[in-house]
């Protein structure tokens, strides 16, 4: 029971200040650490950065997802974390990614991400389901482009 597949979707406000360079470095650091940690814990998912916000989907055994989320929740590099959805899932949607970065490239996101909502991505207006669909869609695009 405790290890049933669960999915968690949240968005948060980015608090990494400074040059696009600093942001890019921070995101790359988060991705590297996430990939290593999540692979060990059996967690997969995707991360998106835009408009000064992070959006993330985590999926895996319930306890593992809760543990990863608990660490993320305490991370000072972001704040105002809004947990949009957390519950059992039928199957993994990011099977191949311990943590994929979707949307723009890290570099582009860091440079243009804060330019804002004209990109059409404003997580504060989305439900957990919708946000999940966006990340999933972007992930599929990305995989097909490879």
């Amino acid at each position: 029971m405790s290890n049933d597949l669960h999915r968690l979707v949240y968005y948060s406000r980015n608090k990494v200040a400074g040059e696009p360079g600093a942001l890019e470095a921070a995101i790359n650091g988060i991705l590297a650490k996430s990939r290593a940690n999540n692979a060990k814990a059996g967690v997969t998912g995707a991360l998106m950065f835009n408009s000064g916000c992070f959006a993330q989907v985590l999926e895996g055994p319930r306890e593992a997802v809760e543990e990863v989320f608990e660490r993320i929740q305490q991370d000072e590099r972001h704040g105002d974390v809004s947990l949009l959805a957390f519950g059992p899932a039928e199957a993994r949607s990011f099977e191949n990614w311990s943590m994929g970065f979707v949307g723009a490239s890290v570099e582009d996101a860091a440079r243009y991400g804060s330019l804002g909502p004209e990109s059409g991505f404003d997580p504060s207006r989305l439900t957990g389901e919708a946000l999940f669909e966006i990340l999933h869609g972007l992930a599929l695009d990305e995989e097909n482009a490879d």
């Binding site: 405790s2 968690l8 997802v65 809760e66 929740q73």
Partner: protein, 557 residues
């Protein structure tokens, strides 16, 4: 001239060793006059394996096997000073040994080492909270006393942060203790994650935690930590498949200014916490002198309020509501007054929040409903009564029952009762509240939205529930004839309400000019000092007597 082979080491008349010595469970080491290890029994040999102790001085032996402790005592050995005494050694594998050193008549020393690991661990366990692994209350108090003693010497400040969780009990009650316990562990994790290595965190019991902060700049550090804890612990938890939210409130007291005695400091931090919770939770407060008095005064008020109902110190007054098209009194809003034994009239804004907090709002709310219905039943059929209902009354799930009973007992037709709800009531558990309102409305009771426009999402509630009436908050009405920003707001509300088929009533009308504006904007009704002050039941009834002209209400037109 270190010697390492025991057999080759000359025996210079050391005391005869008992045959039991090699077999003893206590590790025994004998040092010669040069303070070098001359003999070890089997237990001692095992302790230092694979290092061979023979011929080493104690500092060399301990260093070579990575053990710590005893530096001072063995330095005295080497320097030739008398070095009897006891010290605690910690081996690399974290085993703990108590080492006793005694001088021998020939100038050497005998050391006995007892393994106290288990003993110490058990004592430590007794000092820890089993659920969270944080220090317990006993240890917290001890450390606090120590740090305060240090602080007296150094003059450096020491801060105590008291923390407790808001809404924890509800989680424990609804989801069960295992979830509550898991939550406490996560809270403890977030708490320790926010601390400096020198800070000490403890669980004092239940959902109460404390942090001891010393060696930092105060009050800046305590303030930063308190703010961080309120933020961090207040963030959503994903736990056992649930999404949970609790808040944290924090009270802070700092030595020396808030006290030097552990108990004083703790009490003051607790008072500050009490203040933080009274100020609306999810906040932190520093202790201030005077808090004591204020809290004392509040306690007194609490005791008096609990008695107020029984002692009939509560009464209702009735403020006329005027229907603008006919200039007639369409109803009265029942307003509560509390007259304390010393003759002071306490305004509802002062005692209703307290009544909600201490749980006496329910009997008070029920009394208001029954009394108002009974009073209104004596009025002409065209006159209604409005009664305020508090969020707590919705929470009981018994509001419908109480209303039905008040109507039945008084004989007042449901259509002449209007219930005023605030956004606060709607915010909590929206669905259940909406269902209750719908049932009441089916019974024929009218529902009004009170203080419209002051909350966060007043608009969104309009589409969730078909109110009969919207009461436009006085902040939009006051000075509407002079403030160019208020008029368009009132106009918009009136238009919106009309579109939704709801009536409007402007509250707090105090001048003729305001009344003229409100009338011009098409509000259906008004209520305020201009058109009628709150009246005693007798005065209200007298006002309705057919012989009295309406102008005596003050509604000049």
């Amino acid at each position: 001239m270190p010697h390492s082979a025991p057999d080759s080491y000359p025996r210079r008349g050391f005391p005869p060793r008992s045959t039991a010595l090699p077999e003893m469970a206590t590790a025994v080491i004998i040092l010669n006059e040069e303070r070098e290890v001359e003999y070890v029994n089997r237990s001692a040999e095992e302790l230092f394996e694979p290092v061979d102790p023979h011929g080493c001085t104690m500092p060399v032996l301990l260093a070579s096997c990575g053990a710590r402790g005893g530096e001072e005592m063995f330095a005295d050995h080497v320097s030739g000073q008398d070095a009897e005494g006891t010290c605690r050694l910690r081996l690399v594998d974290e085993r703990l040994l108590d080492c006793t050193s005694r001088r021998l008549s020939n100038g050497g020393y005998v050391l006995s080492l007892d393994d106290v690991t288990e003993h110490v661990r058990n004592a430590e366990l007794a000092n820890h909270d089993a659920l969270t692994g944080l220090a317990n209350r006993k240890i917290f108090r001890e450390r606090l006393s120590e740090r305060l003693a240090d602080a007296r010497q150094s003059g450096k400040p020491v801060a105590v942060l008291y923390l407790d969780l808001d809404r924890f009990k509800a989680i424990n009650d609804t989801l069960g203790h295992p979830v509550g316990d898991a939550l406490l562990r996560k809270v403890a994790g977030r708490l320790t994650g926010a601390l400096h290595p020198d800070d000490l965190a403890a669980r004092l019991g239940g959902d109460e935690f404390a942090v001891l902060q010393s060696g930092s700049e105060q009050p800046a550090s305590a303030q930063a930590l308190a703010a961080r804890l309120v933020d961090l612990i207040g963030r959503t938890y994903a736990l056992e498949g649930h999404t949970l939210n609790v808040g944290a409130s924090v009270g802070v007291a700092i030595a020396p200014q808030d006290g030097y005695e552990p108990d004083t400091l703790l009490r003051h931090a607790d008072l500050a916490l009490f203040r933080a919770k009274a100020d609306g939770r999810g906040a932190y407060r520093f202790f201030e002198h005077g808090m004591n008095d204020r809290i004392q005064a509040r306690r007194l008020m609490e005791i008096e309020l609990r008695r107020a109902l029984a002692l009939k110190q509560l009464r209702l007054v009735y403020q006329p509501q005027i229907h603008l098209a006919s200039n007639a009194i369409s109803g009265f809003e029942a307003l509560i007054r509390w007259e304390t034994p010393d003759g002071r009239v306490v305004p509802p804004s002062e005692f209703i929040p307290l009544a909600e907090e201490i749980g006496v709002i329910l009997p008070i709310g029920e009394w208001v409903l029954r009394t108002a219905c009974k009073q209104a039943a004596a009025w002409p059929d065209s006159v209604a009564v409005s009664v305020n209902v508090s969020p707590a009354q919705f929470r009981t799930g018994r509001l419908v029952e109480t209303v039905a009973s008040a109507l039945a007992r008084s004989g007042l037709p449901a259509a002449r009762l209007e219930l005023e709800v605030t956004e606060g009531a709607l915010l909590e558990g929206s669905d259940a509240v909406t269902r209750t309102l719908a049932t009441l409305r089916q019974m024929g009771v009218r529902i009004a939205m009170d203080d419209f426009g002051t909350g966060y999402s007043s608009l969104s509630y309009l589409q969730k529930f078909p109110f009969d009436r919207i009461k436009v908050d006085k902040s939009f009405v006051r000075g509407i004839d002079r403030n160019s920003h208020r008029l368009p707001i009132v106009r918009a509300i009136v238009t919106l309400a009309a579109g939704l088929g709801m009536e409007t009533m402007a509250e707090g009308v105090e001048t003729e000019a305001e009344l003229a504006c409100i009338r011009a904007e098409g509000c259906d009704g008004v209520q305020g000092y201009l058109t009628g002050c709150p009246l005693s039941p007798e005065a209200a009834t007298a006002l309705l007597a057919p012989s009295r002209p309406l102008s005596s209400t003050g509604a000049t037109e």
